[in-house]
């Protein structure tokens, strides 16, 4: 066992896979000797050298194009896009090239690659370095989308993503990089498409991901004091989506709350709400409520950013109001 931060878990997960498989390579801006702007790749350059852990120019299209070309010819690249907001400058490679090419070529090509990226707010970086883009990725047929919420899951899901034969967008909540937990020694491999029930309750079910998981858990503790006992489901991977676990946990309590960091319109919670509404309508005891960031670009000031992103108190308030309404 070792205390590990979320950011250290990223390097550990990658190192675990690079040791196992020589075809795993890592590229990105400042990821080599510098260890990444979020220090997510510290130690990799020293262990695996500059050929396997390679710094790139500020060329996001080239980074992802290179990952795609390498994946289609037998390697398993991991590419870093420093901030997920920057996907906007290379989204063509993700959406039109990587995601569509297997289908278009009738299965002639596979793309076993991982694109990792710092995602979301909480760091007061302002609108161009803070957005949660998991719903962008989720909307694209052909992409798998993983959003871990703790160090242990980071390692296991990174391993699963690297071993997966399909392209995986791996979104790391920047707000969680410094969080710590006990992590067992030895190889850790998880599975994509498996949600985790991280708290079991009887009154309502909160479905959430990433940085909103610890907030939802804290909110659940406060709600318990009010007599509202919540189940919390950490979805972990949006595609593939573990609908079975979500449906089971929502039908057990009869209520669904989604807690989402993304701006409201077409956030991933809307898709889950729609699945639940279609398949579980008669088991519901009240309306589905989505707790999200409003449909605004994120402001920089700490006071404003804290108002925008769902906070523990807002989650408590909205759930309590709805449950008592």
């Amino acid at each position: 066992m070792a205390q590990l931060t979320f950011r250290e878990a990223i390097a550990r997960g990658i190192a675990q896979e690079m040791r196992r498989d020589e075809s795993v390579l890592m590229i990105g801006e400042d990821i080599g000797a510098a260890g990444g702007v979020f220090k997510g790749t510290v130690g990799l350059f020293e262990e695996f050298g500059g050929i396997r852990v390679r710094d790139t120019p500020i060329s996001e299209q080239a980074i992802l194009g290179a990952a795609m070309g390498a994946a289609m010819t037998g390697l398993r690249p991991i590419a870093e896009i420093m901030f997920s907001d920057f996907f906007a400058v290379c989204w063509d490679i993700v959406v039109n090239e990587i995601a569509k090419s297997r289908y278009m070529t009738n299965g002639q090509m596979t793309f076993p690659l991982v694109i990792r990226s710092g995602n979301g707010g909480g760091l007061r970086f302002g609108a161009q370095h803070s957005q949660s883009v998991e719903n962008w990725a989720m909307q694209v047929p052909g992409l798998k989308v993983v959003v871990p919420s703790n160090a242990l899951d980071v390692i296991g899901l990174m391993a699963a993503a690297v071993r997966d034969p399909d392209p995986v967008i791996f979104l790391e909540a920047k707000a969680l990089y410094a969080t710590k937990m006990e992590v067992p020694d030895g190889e850790i491999v998880d599975t994509l498409g498996s949600a985790k029930v991280v708290r079991k309750g009887s009154s309502a079910t909160i479905v959430t991901i990433g940085a909103m998981v610890p907030r939802s858990l804290a909110a659940a503790e406060e709600l318990a004091a009010q007599g509202i006992d919540c189940t919390v489901v950490d979805v972990r991977s949006l595609i593939p989506l573990d609908t079975q676990t979500i449906l089971r946990e929502v039908s057990a309590t009869g209520r669904l709350f989604t807690v989402e960091e993304n701006p409201r319109v077409l956030g991933w919670g809307a898709e889950i709400s729609s699945i639940v509404a279609e398949e579980l309508f008669y088991d519901l005891d009240g309306p589905i409520v989505r707790i999200t960031t409003p449909h605004i670009p994120l402001p920089a000031a700490d006071a404003l950013e804290d108002m925008a992103i769902p906070s523990v108190s807002r989650i408590v308030e909205e759930i309590s109001r709805s449950m008592n309404g």
């Binding site: 120019p57 194009g65 070309g69 390697l75 090419s101 299965g107 002639q108 609908t243």
Partner: protein, 330 residues
């Protein structure tokens, strides 16, 4: 004119390859007019020498990256005509069973690593394949074809810098046919030679070749590919040529001055090469035998493609994922 190192047999091969591409494209156009080829298609009529010359200089396991104007580059790597024509016609015996269409021809088993229809996107992807070859030590080279208009998009510049700093085994080939779609490239480009004048910005030699002279193309291709294979890094070649037909579909290309079209028709690569081969000892009978054999080949491919089946619903939901399916939830 470049003195070619090829013997007459090899040159007859280059002649045949160009004739195949020419006759194929003419047939594709006819089938488009007859509504067998739906959607769109972009022909390489007039540009065949580039595809033929490069393919002849490539090793069997080298990689081709093409654009939506990619029929010629696909066929030149030895991909059977029937598969290409059937793909254009949306049949199950098409290269991708109709799921890709004219703009996305791919045949991994022939090293044709895709045809890409977002301008410039495939230059970074070709870098990736070259990076992979470099890492694996396989000696493979990636050859990436694109148009003159493509030199003004960001991905072009990102890819060139990337290839240069990592000394990647990739050869970038700009087929400068003077026009992007309906705009003359010189009117919207800061330099006279859209690729060659940019080469020095990335530490590369400025190389221009007569893209209508297959021998010259072959020589310059061989040099660049050998260089890349030897670990000496990327090259960029600008091949001057002309698109004899319109940009796509049934575009008559009326925006081009008649004199310009006439001037370039007079420089048509195939009659030019025909004359050269006669001067170098080939016989008229040899060459017309090639023309005749290719015509028969195109007819047969047309029949086979037309006989292909219309894809069914089984294909619709197939191959989003590597497991062959399309499930995104359990």
């Amino acid at each position: 004119m470049t003195i070619s190192s090829l013997d007459l047999d090899a040159k007859l091969g280059l002649y045949r390859s160009q004739v195949e591409l020419r006759q194929f494209e003419k047939r594709a156009y006819d089938l488009f007019l007859e509504n067998y080829v739906k959607g769109t298609s972009h022909l390489s009529l007039g540009q065949e020498a580039i595809a033929a010359g490069f393919a002849a200089a490539m090793r069997e396991d080298d990689y081709t990256f093409a654009t939506y104007r990619g029929h010629a580059h696909t066929l030149a790597r030895g991909v059977p005509m029937t598969g290409v024509l059937a793909e254009l016609m949306g049949r199950t015996n098409g290269l991708m069973a109709g799921k890709g269409g004219s703009m996305h021809l791919t045949s991994v088993e022939h090293g044709v690593m895709g045809s890409y229809a977002i301008i410039g996107a495939h230059l970074p992807i070709a870098c990736g394949a070259a990076w992979s070859a470099q890492y694996r030590g396989s000696g493979q080279v990636a050859v990436c074809f694109f148009g003159d208009g493509t030199t003004n998009i960001g991905a072009f510049h990102e890819a060139l810098n990337f290839a240069a700093i990592w000394k990647l085994p990739v050869v970038f080939v700009c087929e400068n046919n003077l026009w992007m779609e309906y705009t003359r490239t010189s009117e919207i480009t800061a330099v006279e030679h859209p690729a060659a004048d940019r080469a020095s910005a990335y530490g590369l030699e400025s190389i221009i070749v007569d893209g209508n002279d297959v021998d010259a193309v072959f020589e310059v291709a061989k040099k660049a590919i050998d260089r890349a294979r030897a670990g000496e890094g990327p090259s960029m070649i600008e091949a001057k040529t002309y698109r004899q037909a319109g940009h796509s579909r049934a575009d008559p290309g009326k925006y081009r001055p008649d004199e310009e079209v006439a001037e370039w028709l007079a420089k048509d690569p195939i009659p030019m090469y025909h004359a050269r081969l006669l001067a170098e000892g080939a016989t008229e009978a040899q060459l017309s035998e090639i023309d005749r054999a290719v015509a028969a080949m195109v007819d047969l491919a047309t029949e086979e493609a037309k006989a292909g089946e219309t894809p069914g619903a089984d294909l619709l939901m197939k191959d989003v994922w590597a497991d062959g399916g399309s499930a995104w939830r359990n």
